[in-house]
C-alpha cells in the first residue's frame, strides 16, 4: 500500500531507490530518510519494546525517535541501533529491526506483556535472589539476553574515519532560521564562521512549516541565505554534521557523516565520517526544540505519532503516516498538522485539545472544514488492530487536570497525532555549565545562564516565534545586526501542561525502556524521588534517544506525585555526546598500524635486511637479535653476547633518550634532579647518576656528560625517556630561579656502541686521529671526533663491562657510520648485537634496568647504590622521602643462582623462604631479570628481596605451580666484579 502523496515533498521523484526492510523490498526516493520511506510504503510496525515486547511504530521524525531502531547494512559495514529517522535512504540499503522473535509481527516475547505486573520498576532488584548459582546460571543470562537492542558487527570495520582541526571566530550550531540568521550576521564583516547543521539540508523546521520571510516563501530565504554564505570565503557550511560535545574553553567536537547517505563505499578512500575539532571564539547555539509526547493510557500504539513528525512526513517527504487522524494537543502547534492533513485529503476525525479554551480562530478554521475541536478533553484509551491504532476513547479533563470525567466518547481513527509542547534543545549549553529554569507559560525548561562565549537563538532558547528567532539569530551573530525581515507565521499561543492522564491502560513515559507513569509512582513510593534516583531506578532517559522524549514528562509526573514544583526539579546532568558517536570515528586514523607510531632508527632497514627479530620498546623498533639461518633467537643471543666478551660487537643504541640541559644554572639544576653532584663535573667528563621521584623511588638512571660549562647532555634508557624528559621539563618550570633549558635531542643523534676487547682496533680505523689509549681516552670521558669522516662525538662508556665506545653522529649519517664500522670491524670478527644480548651482558655485570629491576618502592639504598646519594649537597627531588625510609624489611637488589644451573627462573616469579608452605605464603620478593649466561655457562638472575643483602648465601624458593625452583642468594655482579675488562 503506498502512502506517498501524489505531489509535494523535498524528494527527487525522478529517481527510485530500492531498499530491503525486514526482508521485504520497498522503494523510496532521494531525499527520503529510511523512516519517511517506510511511512510512504505504509509500514506502521517498526519495532518491539524492550521489556514487554509491545508492537511499536514511528513516534518521531528526528533524533528523539525511540522505537525505530534498525541494524543497517551488513557484515563489517553494518551498524546496530540506527534510528530510522536519521538514516538517509540510499539504493540497496538493508535494514533489519532490532527486535522481535521469531518475527517482528509475531513476537514470542509478547508473553512478557501478559504478566507485565511482574516487571515493574526495580523488579530485578527484588527478584532472582534465591541463590548465587541460579542467578549466575539462569537468571542473569536470561536478563542479559533480554537487554540491549542491536548486536556487535561480526568483523572489523570496513570503513575509514578521519579528523580535521579548525578555528573560527563564530561557530553556529544548527542550520534552521536562527542559525542561518546568526551565520549571515556574523560573517557580514568577514569573520570566520563555521555553520554546522545536522540535517542533509538547511532550513530546520522551515522544511515542513509553511512560513514566509521577507514576503517570500521561507525556503526561498533559506536558499538565498545559503547562497550568500557560500559566497563568503571565510564561511564553512557543514551539513550532516552534529556538534556533539562542547567544552568550556570554546572547543567543540563535530561529527560529519560523509558517506553514510551514499551507502557502502567499497574501494573508496573517502572516510565514512570525519570528526572536527573546532576551536571557536564564540558559539551560537541554534539547535531548535523537540516536541514532547503526552503521557496518556495506551499512548504507545503504532500510529501514535508526534504531531510535528506527522507534519514533517506529510510536507517534507510527501508521505502520509495514516488517514482519518485524531489530533491530541495541549498547544496551538498541532493545529497546523490538522490543516496539513486536511490539505492532502487524509481526513481528520477530531482535534482533542486539553485546553478548555483553545483560540477561537483556530477552532473556527477547523469548523469551516468540518472538523470538531473537543476542547478540555483528552484521550483516555486507545484501541489497535494488527496495523496499529484503530480508535481512541475521549473524555473531559477536570479543571485541575488530574481527573477525567463525563461520558466517554469513542472515535475511530487511523492515526493519532500528539503534541505535548516543545522542549528547547539545551544539551550543548548544559555541557558547558548552562543552567535551566522552568518557564511556566511555555511549560518547558529554558536556559537561564550560559557561559559568556555561548549565545542561544531560536527554539533552543525557548523562542518559538520565527520573527523572534530571526532577531535573536541576527543579534547573536553581530553586535550591529541587520534589520529583521518581515515574516508570516501563526501565533504560538499557550500550553496546558498535563503530565499524566488516568486510565486502565499503561501510560508510557519512556518508550525505549518501557517505563510507565505507574513505574514513576512506584519508584517515588519506594523513596526514589530525586530525579537522578528516579532515572536510575525506573530506567528513564537512559536509552539511545538520550531522554529526549521522556525526561521532562518524567519530571512532570514526579512533580505531580510528590507535590514539588517543576521549578524545584531539574533535568539530570546533560552527558555528552549529543548524538552517539562510533568508536571508530573517535579513534579516527589511529587504528591498526597508525594506532601509535613506530619509531625507527636510521639503521632500521639494515637491521631488517640482516634478518633481525624486532622487539618494541617505548614505540621504538629495536633488534632483539640477528639469528643466522637455522638459528633460534636464544642461540643468536648467546652467540652475540659471546662475541662481545671475546671479540667485538656493534649495537644500535639510537633509541636511547638524549637530553640537552643548557644554561648558566645547568649544573645546579642537575644537582637537584640527581642524587649525586653534577655541578662539579669537569668539562669532557661523564657521570652516572640516579633520578628519584618525589616519593624517593628510582625514576631512572642516566649517564651525562659536561660538554661545556653551561651545557650537559644526558643519555637515559629508552623505556623511561619520555617520562624523564617530562619530569625534567616540569622541574625546570617549577624552579624559575634556575636559568636552564631542557631539550629532547633523541632523534638528532644516531648512537652506535662498539663494545668488546677489540673495539679499540675497530674505532682506530674509523677515527685515525683519535688517541684511544686508556690514559689518553679514559673511562667516563667524552671527546669530539670525526668518525668515518662524520663529525660527531665519542664517549668511553658502555653497558657491557667490556671496553666500549659510544659513537654519536648526526641521525642522518647513522647508516653511513654503521656501514663503515661493519667494514672496519670485519677483520676483527665484528658482530651486530641486539637487545637480547645487551640484556645478558648487563645482567652478568649486575647493571640495573630501571622499570625492570626496580619498582615504585625501590630506593638507591635498596639497589646498593648508596655511593650515588650525596646527602650533604643540599636538596634534591626525593631527598625528604629518602630520609624517612627505614632500614628493616626493604626489598634489596640481589643476585640469584639457581641450584640447577640449567634452570632459568621466569621473570616476575615470587620468592619465598619456605619451600613447601601452603598459601597464604609471605612473599619475600620477586625475580626482576633472568637469563642464561653463555659466558658463565649457567643461569643468572637479579631479584628484589626483603632484607636481601643480609640473606646472601641463603636459599630462597620460587614456587611456579607444578614445580618449585630453589636458588641461592648471591652478589648481584656475576662477572668480572673487579672491572678489569673495562679498559680492554
Amino acid at each position: 500500500m503506498t502512502c506517498r502523496l501524489p505531489n509535494g515533498g523535498r524528494i527527487d521523484r525522478s529517481r527510485k531507490l530500492r531498499f530491503l526492510f525486514n526482508g521485504t523490498r520497498y522503494e523510496g526516493h532521494p531525499g527520503d530518510t529510511l523512516a519517511s520511506a517506510l511511512v510512504a510504503n505504509g509500514v506502521s510496525l517498526v519495532g518491539r519494546s524492550l521489556k514487554y515486547h509491545r508492537p511499536r511504530g514511528l513516534l518521531a521524525a528526528g533524533p528523539q525517535e525511540p522505537n525505530a531502531l534498525f541494524h543497517v547494512g551488513f557484515g563489517p559495514r553494518s551498524t546496530p541501533s540506527m534510528k530510522a529517522t536519521e538514516v538517509e535512504l540510499h539504493d540497496g540499503l538493508v535494514a533489519v529491526p532490532e527486535a522481535g522473535w521469531p518475527s517482528l509481527g509475531w513476537d514470542f516475547g509478547r508473553v512478557a506483556d501478559a504478566v507485565s505486573g511482574l516487571w515493574a520498576a526495580g523488579f530485578p532488584y527484588k527478584t532472582f535472589k534465591s541463590s548465587p548459582r541460579l542467578w549466575e546460571r539462569l537468571f542473569e543470562p536470561a536478563l542479559r539476553g533480554a537487554a540491549g537492542w542491536g548486536s556487535v558487527p561480526d568483523g572489523p570495520d570496513g570503513d575509514r574515519y578521519d579528523a580535521r582541526w579548525a578555528h573560527c571566530d563564530v561557530l553556529v550550531v544548527g542550520g534552521g532560521p536562527a542559525g542561518l540568521a546568526a551565520a549571515l550576521a556574523a560573517s557580514a564583516d568577514g569573520a570566520r564562521v563555521i555553520l554546522a547543521d545536522a540535517q542533509n539540508e538547511a532550513g530546520g523546521h522551515l522544511l515542513h512549516h509553511d512560513r514566509a520571510i521577507g514576503g517570500h516563501e521561507a525556503l526561498a530565504w533559506v536558499a538565498d541565505t545559503l547562497a550568500a554564505l557560500k559566497d563568503r570565503p571565510e564561511v564553512t557550511v557543514l551539513s550532516r554534521t552534529t556538534v556533539t560535545m562542547l567544552e568550556r574553553d570554546g572547543s567543540a567536537l563535530a561529527l560529519e557523516r560523509r558517506t553514510d547517505h551514499k551507502g557502502p563505499q567499497i574501494g573508496s578512500f573517502v572516510p565514512r565520517q570525519r570528526l572536527w575539532r573546532i576551536r571557536a571564539g564564540r558559539v551560537v547555539l541554534a539547535t531548535g526544540a523537540l516536541e514532547r509526547p503526552l503521557v496518556f493510557p495506551g499512548n504507545d500504539r503504532p500510529g501514535v505519532m508526534l504531531a510535528g513528525a506527522v507534519l514533517a512526513y506529510v510536507r517534507r517527504w510527501a508521505a502520509l503516516p495514516g488517514r482519518d487522524a485524531v489530533v491530541l494537543t495541549n498547544n496551538d502547534g498541532a493545529y497546523e498538522t490538522a490543516e496539513a492533513l486536511l490539505d492532502v485529503g487524509a481526513g481528520v476525525v477530531a482535534v482533542v485539545d486539553l485546553r478548555p479554551d483553545p483560540p477561537a480562530r483556530l477552532v473556527a478554521r477547523l469548523a469551516e472544514r468540518g472538523v470538531e475541536v473537543l476542547s478540555g478533553h483528552v484521550v483516555v484509551a486507545t484501541r489497535a488492530g494488527r496495523r496499529g491504532i484503530t480508535g481512541v476513547t475521549v473524555r473531559a479533563l477536570s479543571a485541575d487536570g488530574t481527573e477525567v470525567q463525563g461520558p466517554a466518547r469513542r472515535l475511530s481513527c487511523g492515526l493519532l497525532a500528539v503534541s505535548g509542547g516543545w522542549d528547547p534543545d539545551t544539551a550543548l549549553a548544559r555541557q558547558v555549565g548552562g543552567t535551566l529554569r522552568w518557564d511556566e507559560a511555555q511549560a518547558c525548561y529554558i536556559t537561564s545562564t550560559t557561559p559568556d562565549f555561548v549565545s542561544m537563538a531560536g527554539g533552543c532558547a525557548g523562542t518559538f516565534s520565527l520573527h523572534e528567532s530571526l532577531r535573536e539569530g541576527l543579534s547573536a551573530g553581530s553586535d550591529d545586526p541587520p534589520p529583521v525581515p518581515s515574516v508570516r507565521e501563526p501565533a504560538y499561543g499557550t500550553v496546558r501542561a498535563v503530565w499524566q492522564v488516568p486510565g486502565r491502560q499503561a501510560a508510557f513515559v519512556d518508550l525505549q525502556t518501557d517505563a510507565t507513569a505507574a513505574d514513576i509512582a512506584l519508584a517515588v513510593r519506594e523513596g526514589f524521588d530525586h530525579p537522578e534516583l528516579l532515572k536510575r531506578y525506573a530506567v528513564i532517559g537512559l536509552g539511545t534517544e538520550q531522554g529526549r522524549t521522556a525526561q521532562v514528562n518524567a519530571l512532570g509526573i514526579l512533580s505531580e506525585v510528590t507535590g514539588r514544583h517543576m521549578a524545584d526539579l531539574a533535568p539530570t546532568t546533560a552527558r555528552p555526546p549529543v548524538e552517539p558517536m562510533a568508536l571508530g570515528a573517535i579513534a579516527g586514523r589511529a587504528v591498526g598500524e597508525f594506532a601509535a607510531p613506530r619509531r625507527l632508527s636510521p639503521q632500521h632497514d639494515w637491521h631488517a635486511a640482516a634478518g633481525a627479530v624486532f622487539r618494541e620498546e617505548a614505540g621504538c623498533q629495536r633488534p632483539l637479535a640477528y639469528p643466522l639461518p637455522g638459528e633460534t633467537v636464544a642461540h643468536a643471543i648467546e652467540r652475540e653476547s659471546l662475541a662481545v666478551r671475546e671479540k667485538v660487537g656493534l649495537h644500535d643504541a639510537a633509541p636511547l633518550g638524549k637530553i640537552e640541559v643548557q644554561g648558566p644554572d645547568a649544573g645546579a639544576f642537575l644537582d637537584r634532579v640527581f642524587t649525586n653532584g653534577w655541578s662539579g663535573l669537569g668539562v669532557g667528563r661523564l657521570r652516572y647518576g640516579l633520578m628519584l621521584t618525589a616519593e624517593g623511588s628510582v625514576l631512572d638512571d642516566g649517564i651525562g656528560g659536561r660538554l661545556a660549562p653551561d651545557r650537559y647532555r644526558l643519555m637515559v634508557g629508552a623505556p623511561r625517556s619520555a617520562a624523564v624528559i617530562g619530569h625534567l621539563k616540569e622541574c625546570a618550570a617549577a624552579w624559575p630561579d634556575l636559568r636552564v633549558f631542557v631539550s629532547d635531542v633523541t632523534e638528532q643523534w644516531a648512537t652506535i656502541l662498539l663494545t668488546g676487547p677489540r673495539c679499540r682496533d675497530v674505532l682506530g680505523r674509523l677515527a685515525p686521529d683519535l688517541y684511544l689509549g686508556a690514559r689518553a681516552f679514559p673511562f667516563m670521558t667524552v671527546q669530539d671526533a670525526a668518525v668515518a669522516g662524520v663529525p660527531g662525538r665519542v664517549a668511553r662508556i658502555g653497558f657491557t663491562g667490556e671496553l666500549s665506545f659510544e659513537v654519536l653522529v648526526p641521525w642522518s649519517r647513522g647508516m653511513a657510520v654503521w656501514q663503515a664500522a661493519l667494514e672496519a670491524g670485519a677483520a676483527f670478527g665484528i658482530t651486530p648485537l641486539g637487545l637480547g644480548a645487551m640484556e645478558v651482558l648487563r645482567a652478568e655485570k649486575g647493571f640495573i634496568l630501571p622499570v625492570q629491576d626496580t619498582d615504585s618502592e625501590t630506593t638507591p639504598f635498596d639497589l646498593g647504590y648508596a655511593r650515588l646519594v650525596d646527602m650533604g649537597k643540599g636538596d634534591f627531588v626525593g631527598r625528604s622521602a629518602l630520609e624517612k625510609v627505614s632500614g628493616k624489611g626493604r626489598r634489596e637488589l640481589v643476585g640469584l643462582l639457581t641450584e640447577d644451573p640449567r634452570v632459568v627462573l621466569p621473570e616476575g616469579a615470587a620468592l619465598t623462604a619456605d619451600r613447601a608452605a601452603e598459601p597464604p605464603v609471605p612473599v619475600l620478593g620477586h625475580v626482576t631479570s633472568s637469563c642464561y649466561s653463555p659466558t658463565l655457562g649457567r643461569s643468572i638472575a637479579l631479584a628484589l628481596l626483603a632484607d636481601g643483602r643480609a640473606r646472601t648465601g641463603e636459599k630462597v624458593h620460587a614456587p611456579l605451580g607444578l614445580r618449585t625452583v630453589t636458588a641461592v642468594v648471591a652478589e648481584p655482579v656475576f662477572f668480572d666484579p673487579e672491572g678489569r675488562r673495562r679498559d680492554g
Binding site: S81, G117, L118, A120, P124, Y125, K126, K129, P132, W135, E140, P141, R144, G145, A147, W149, G150, S151, V152, P153, D154, G155, D157, M245, A518, R525, E526, F528, H530, E532, R536, L542, T544, Q546, R575, P580, A582, L583, G584, I586, A587, A590, G592, A595, V851, D855, S856, E857, A881, K884, S886, P906, E907, A909, P919, P920, P922, V923, H926, P959
Partner: protein
C-alpha cells in the same frame, strides 16, 4: 522492611505494587547520634549497616550532601577483583571478593554481582613481566590467578584480537572470581538494610565542618544545623581533604572519565583490562559496553583509549559512544586507601581509594564500622592507616591499580 519474597512479589504485582514501602525511611536529623557517617555512597552505607548488624550500634546517621549513591558510586565502572600485588591489599580486596557473592542474599536485594572473570591482557614484554609478577604473588597469597597464553585468552574472550593489530597480545592474567555488579543497587541495598536496622539516612544534608574539642570530634556542622556525635567517620572520597582540615592527608584529586556505548546484545562475557593501552571494558547487564579510562581530563584521553580498545576489540568500531561522564577521585602516593582511626579521637577515615573503591565496598564498610565502633583499626585495615605515610610503610599498588598507574 517488607522482604522481597515469593509471597510479597506476586501479591504486589496483583495489586499494582501499591504496598511497597520506602526502601529507606525518610529521617529527620536528630540532635545527637552515637555515630555519624558522612557520605551516603556505597562505602558509607555499608559501614552503617555493619555498625548496626555487627556492632549493635543503631543510633547512627548517614549524612549525604545530595542524593544517595550520587558520587563515585554512581560513576564507577563497577569492576570487582582482588588481584593486587601486596599481601595487605590482597587480603583487603579479597575479603570484599568473598563477601560479594553472598551480598544479594545478605541484604535481600539483588545487586547483580556477576563473576564473569577479569582478564588482564599484556601487550608488551614489560607488561608481561609485571602481570606475571602479580600472578605469582597472587597464587602465593592463595587467591585465584591464572596466566593464559594469547590463544587461551582469545578462547576465553572471543572478541579479543590477539594478533594483526598494532599491539599483539602476549598473554593475559585471569581472575575468574572477579566481575562486575550493579553499582546503584549496591548503595540502595545497603541503605534499605541499614535503615531497617534503625540507621537514619539523611539526604540533602551537606556537612560543612567537623566539630572538635580537645583533640576529639564531637559532631558536625551541617546545612541543617549542628549534629553531635561520639564518633564520626568520613567516607566522602574527594571531599575528604576539605572536611578533615587539620589532618595532613596525602591526597591528590584527579578527574577520571568513563563512557558507555549504546546497549547491544551480550557479546563480551568478561571484564577486559589493558593497562598498557589505557583502557578497560566490560558489558553491563543492560547491554552497554562500559569503558574505563586512565585519569585525566579532556577528549584526548577518550581518543587515546578508543585507539587502544579498537586494537584489541576491532569489531567494536561501529559501536557508538552513548554517554560520557567524569568524577573526581582522590589518589594517595601509593595508590592504596586510607582506612581506619586517626589521631583525632573519634574520627575515622575512609578515603584515597583512587579508581578502585567500588570493588572494596563490602570490606571497606566492615573495616570502617570496626574503627567507628571500637576506635581501633580492624586487622585487615591496620596496614592502611594514615600513619603509614609518616612511617614510610607504603603499600605500593601503582602497577596493580590499573589505570590509576598513569598518575605521576
Amino acid at each position: 522492611m517488607v522482604r522481597f519474597s515469593l509471597v510479597s512479589l506476586p501479591r504486589e504485582a496483583l495489586r499494582g505494587h501499591t504496598g511497597w514501602p520506602r526502601q529507606w525511611r525518610r529521617a529527620e536529623p536528630k540532635r545527637r547520634y552515637q555515630a555519624i557517617i558522612v557520605g551516603g555512597g556505597a562505602h558509607g552505607l555499608a559501614a552503617a549497616w555493619h555498625l548496626a548488624r555487627d556492632h549493635g550500634l543503631r543510633d547512627v546517621a548517614v549524612l549525604e550532601k545530595g542524593w544517595l549513591g550520587g558520587g563515585n558510586t554512581a560513576r564507577n565502572t563497577t569492576i570487582i577483583r582482588s588481584n593486587y600485588l601486596a599481601a595487605e591489599s590482597v587480603a583487603l580486596y579479597d575479603r570484599a571478593l568473598t563477601l560479594w557473592p553472598g551480598l544479594t542474599q545478605a541484604l535481600d536485594y539483588n545487586v547483580m554481582f556477576s563473576p564473569r572473570g577479569v582478564l588482564t591482557v599484556a601487550t608488551s614484554p614489560d607488561e608481561v613481566r609485571e602481570v606475571q609478577r602479580r600472578v605469582y604473588a597472587n597464587r602465593l597469597a592463595g587467591i585465584d590467578a591464572e596466566w593464559l597464553s594469547p590463544k587461551e585468552a582469545q578462547a576465553f574472550c572471543p572478541l579479543l584480537r590477539i594478533e594483526g593489530g598494532r599491539w599483539p597480545v602476549l598473554g593475559a592474567a585471569l581472575q575468574r572470581r572477579g566481575g562486575i555488579a550493579r553499582h546503584d543497587a549496591v548503595a540502595w541495598a545497603y541503605a534499605r538494610a541499614a535503615s531497617a536496622l534503625g540507621v537514619d539516612i539523611i539526604e540533602q544534608c551537606p556537612v560543612t565542618a567537623l566539630r572538635l574539642d580537645g583533640g576529639r570530634v564531637t559532631g558536625v556542622d551541617t546545612a541543617r544545623g549542628v549534629i553531635e556525635a561520639d564518633a564520626v567517620a568520613l567516607s566522602t572520597a574527594a571531599g575528604t581533604a576539605g572536611l578533615a582540615a587539620g589532618l595532613d592527608l596525602p591526597l591528590e584529586s584527579h578527574v577520571l572519565q568513563a563512557f558507555v556505548s549504546e546497549p547491544v546484545k551480550p557479546a563480551l562475557d568478561c571484564v577486559l583490562m589493558a593497562g598498557g593501552l589505557d583502557a578497560h571494558v566490560s558489558q553491563s547487564a543492560k547491554g552497554e559496553f562500559v569503558f574505563g579510562l586512565p585519569v585525566g581530563e579532556g577528549f584526548g584521553v577518550i581518543e587515546k583509549a578508543a585507539a587502544g580498545i579498537l586494537d584489541l576489540l576491532p569489531t567494536l568500531s561501529r559501536l557508538r559512544l552513548l554517554r560520557q561522564w567524569h568524577g573526581v577521585v582522590d589518589v594517595t602516593p601509593d595508590r592504596s586507601p586510607i582506612l581506619g582511626p586517626t589521631p583525632v579521637g573519634g574520627l575515622s577515615l575512609n578515603c584515597g581509594w583512587g579508581t578502585g573503591g567500588f570493588k572494596a565496598t563490602p570490606a571497606a564498610g566492615e573495616i570502617l564500622a570496626h574503627a567507628v565502633a571500637t576506635g581501633r583499626p580492624h586487622p585487615l585495615g591496620a596496614p592502611f592507616g594514615l600513619e603509614r605515610f609518616a612511617a614510610g610503610a607504603l603499600i605500593d599498588e601503582r602497577a596493580a591499580a590499573a589505570v590509576a598507574g598513569g598518575v605521576r
